[in-house]
Assembly symmetry: C2
Amino acid sequence: MSQNIIENLVTQLTKLPGIGRKTAQRLAFFILTLPAEEAKDIASAIVDVKENARFCSNCFNITDVDPCAICSDPSRDSNRICVVEEPSNVLAIERTGIFKGTYHVLLGALSPLDGITPDKLKINALINKLKDNPVEEVILATNPNTKGEMTARYITELLKPMNIKTSRIAYGLPIGSDIEFADEVTLSKALEGRRDI
Amino acid sequence: MSQNIIENLVTQLTKLPGIGRKTAQRLAFFILTLPAEEAKDIASAIVDVKENARFCSNCFNITDVDPCAICSDPSRDSNRICVVEEPSNVLAIERTGIFKGTYHVLLGALSPLDGITPDKLKINALINKLKDNPVEEVILATNPNTKGEMTARYITELLKPMNIKTSRIAYGLPIGSDIEFADEVTLSKALEGRRDI
């Protein structure tokens, strides 16, 4: 069959993760029905992200302006730094709307077996930043798994001599979940982390 | 939060059907890791489809050249016309690889209650085409539901006086399915349509 423009779009869309042929086809025919302007908006957002995305020189979040919108926002509390593994984590925390501090993106988590040693991450940049501008609190929001845990401990050790308050995000049962179906580790953490009411 | 380029891409992607915020975010960060060339290919496939897609003047499939690649392919058997409702159905049948004839896309199915009367579909175009160039067989591959069925019967009536062999795609159990879970109508059709072996 000749590779026509619809087929081409379907093929392009299947390159995306989790998009199989049927989904790609549904999307392609949907795009076909969109006003030309809206389809162009999607296309230019894709090009835009590739052409203009870079890392913020201060927090290493992905941005199109340097420093990023969060770092340069005077209403954000720069005395509180939330340390995360990836730029996508910043987006997730921002959506909660409750954190008004700034971020530091490590661009990964420690994993010595995979060759991800501390020098591969933005850990030195964090320490140097804190030496120049001590802050009130560093919140370690790396993932609650082996690598994220190791990374959080490593950074905690580095921060100890600097006398900076360091906290770790809470472990526990996710909201809306069911104790019956919680795994033992999560449930143990939820019990350990219990608070007086 | 400032609308940065990643947020913008996420917002654009959520316009697509079945793409929620989380999926859009995953796609956006994936696009960020793609080589610039590949990301541009996706973007230009989207723009391309909007700028160059039109209906084939012969079969009403979507195409960028007129007549479409299938209609202008001399290796296709123009004596066999498969009638379908939508361009996406052509794509589905083409993927089976077993049909070597040509198509006629009705661009819908009869639905008088919704105002879709025969004149709203490409039925006249089909009849006129057949008057000028009689074919050996018309295969009615409209959907096996009320509207598709009604459309198939309507076209059958029109073709009767023209003495053109008309067939309907087979009903039955889908391959890989289970008789236990088949609905009664499908199972009845599968029994009625049984063949000697």
